[in-house]
């Protein structure tokens, strides 16, 4: 009975984590290039009161045992890198990756971080950077006097000056990982390498398994609202059911203590 109380408590905690995760996904349903987080659960260990397969007699083996579980734990909350929908914005510095691959940007302390958010801006010195000021790597500098920028699907960035002359000013590179779900999410759409993600693999857009670039467009959030709503209903009802199990155990304990008056 006391075991049931703790088991139900683990269930409620797990559903709370589940709901926190769902709420985060729903809050970011309109965030550019947001990747939804999935929570998965595992049952906790089992207490073997009697192992299966024990001897019942000289020739008979008991077919089952007595094992009581102690609840549930959150196994992982990881990001799901399915591509989101691509929304056309028409802005010349906006880029969306149509497929796999991250942009590499340099953070304030020189570390390389990765992002799918292609909403780039031009710094005063002409370099392309994110809205937080993280410079796109490899650096692409827009020369003074440029009238228009074109970003080709294969990454080549070209600038047209006031005379109509076009010159190539660089090529956007994409980075890929064996296990992108293993990247550490830092917020603001940025991801950091971890031991679980594998080493970064750089390449040109459109080649091997890198996606092509779509200029003048941004990748939307890949949160599926219907799925999140269904998950939310399940989480809420599971929470309620676990609270009922706890209430039952409490009633039983109350009955036991009520035996002695």
């Amino acid at each position: 009975m006391i075991r049931a109380v703790h088991t139900a408590a683990t269930g409620m905690e797990a559903m709370q984590t589940n709901l926190d995760n769902i709420a985060n996904n729903l809050a970011n349903v309109n965030t550019t290039a947001y990747k939804e987080s999935t929570a998965t659960f595992h049952d906790l260990f089992y207490q073997n009161i009697r192992d299966p397969g024990g001897q019942a007699g000289p020739d008979t083996v008991k077919p089952t045992g007595v094992q009581v579980g102690v609840g549930v734990k959150t196994a992982s909350v990881h990001k799901n890198f399915e591509p989101g929908p691509i929304k056309v914005t028409g802005r010349e510095f906006d880029v969306a990756v149509n497929g796999d691959g991250f942009f590499a940007v340099e953070s304030d302390n020189g570390e390389t971080l990765y992002t799918r958010d292609g909403n780039f801006q031009k710094l005063p010195d002409g370099r392309l950077a994110t809205v937080h000021g993280h410079v796109l790597q490899p650096t692409i500098t827009v020369p003074q006097g440029t009238v228009k920028i074109d970003i080709a699907p294969r990454g080549i960035v070209s600038a047209v000056d006031s005379n109509g002359k076009r010159q190539d000013i660089g090529r956007i590179q994409l980075v890929n990982f064996v296990n992108p779900s293993g990247l550490r999410a830092l917020g603001s759409g940025l991801y950091q390498i971890s031991d679980a993600s594998g080493t970064p693999n750089q390449g040109n857009p459109g080649e091997s398994n890198f996606g092509q670039l779509q200029a003048g467009a941004l990748e939307g959030s890949n949160v599926n609202i219907v799925t999140e709503m269904v998950n939310m209903i399940q989480a809420q009802r599971a929470y309620e059911m676990n609270s009922k199990a706890m209430q039952s155990a409490d009633t039983m304990l109350g009955t036991t203590t009520g035996v002695l008056r």
Binding site: M1, R3, A4, T7, A8, T10, G11, A14, M15, T38, F41, H42, D43, F45, Y46, I49, P52, G53, P63, T64, G65, V66, Q67, V68, G69, V70, G71, V72, S76, H78, N80, E82, D100, N176, F177, V178, N179, S181, G182, A196, S197, G198, T199, N201, N209, Q234, R237, A238, M241, N242, A245, M246, S248, A249, T251, M252, T255, T256, V259, L260
Partner: protein, 283 residues
């Protein structure tokens, strides 16, 4: 205390153990691939039931035991004899994730845990940093293998950890969305087969012990069947928990009320004793 109270106490303990099982089922109502447990009770008689003797006209003053024959029923107990895992197929939901797999049928995936080979139904796999297919706990998912032909009379030697780790499924080139997994567990990139998932079945699923983290341990090597007869692998889908909340809540209600009923018996015995001690001897 009169001995009639002990069967009631055993009943209370059994019902509270039943509630523990129900609570675990409910806690895991959202765990993918979870199989619900069910407690089974067994009635024990600690004395063999006395044979029915012929009725005889009493020649001496009868004792209470002869008038009120219990035939061993006063020493009967109930215990939780086994906790059976119900391996009914859970509902399969679509997730869209190319590395999620669900099994329809009786099969299990083979995974390599730090303590040896275990089996699981939870198919939400991912790639680790080296490109190997792993579970969310990091256990390697093993590829299919043929059983070594047993030497005459002698059982096949157990595979070493290195041999098992060599059966890991490594996907080189990071792009899981290009992989397709066929119904028999074959892993294809385009038209080329890259590897084969190991799907195994068991002759008797009752011999599987749950080990937590959604894995099962097989007690008898002879229980394992390497050629699955009836299992289909579905990609981008996950099997959900087979816990039926309505059933569990009914069990819980039942357990609670039976517990209360047993406790009432205990209380009644207490009252009777109290009466015997306090009232009968009153002067």
């Amino acid at each position: 205390m009169s001995k009639g109270v002990w069967p009631a106490v055993s009943g209370s303990i059994a019902q509270s153990q039943r509630l523990d099982v129900v609570a675990n089922n409910l806690a895991n109502v959202n765990t993918a691939g979870f199989k619900r447990d069910q407690a089974a009770f067994r009635h024990l008689l600690s004395d063999a039931m006395a044979a029915q003797a012929k009725e005889e006209v009493p020649r001496q003053i009868p004792t209470d035991k002869e008038i009120h024959r219990l035939d061993g029923r006063d020493k009967a107990f109930v215990i939780v004899d086994e906790i059976r895992t119900d391996h009914t197929q859970g509902m399969v939901k679509t997730t869209g994730n190319p590395l999620d797999v669900a099994i329809e049928g009786k099969g299990f995936f083979e995974v390599l845990t730090p303590t040896g080979v275990r089996y699981t139904r939870q198919g939400n796999f991912m790639l680790n940093g080296d490109g190997a297919l792993v579970t969310t706990e990091g256990y390697l998912v093993l590829s299919a293998t043929a059983d070594a032909a047993p030497a005459a009379g002698a059982p096949a030697p157990a595979p070493t950890r290195e041999e098992l780790a060599a059966r890991a499924i490594v996907i080189d080139q990071a792009n899981p969305s290009q992989l397709t997994i066929t119904r028999d567990g074959g892993i294809f990139r385009g038209r080329e087969q890259v590897n084969q998932l190991s799907i195994v079945e068991f002759v008797d699923t009752k011999l599987l012990a749950k080990e937590g983290s959604s894995t099962y341990r097989n007690e008898l090597p002879a229980n394992l069947v390497r050629e699955p007869a009836s299992s289909n692998v579905r990609q981008a889908m996950l099997e959900t928990s087979n816990v039926n909340p309505v059933k569990e809540l009914t069990e819980m209600l039942n357990a609670t009320r039976m517990f209360e009923a047993n406790q009432k018996i205990v209380k009644n015995y207490g009252d009777l004793e109290s009466r015997a001690v306090n009232d009968i001897g009153k002067l």
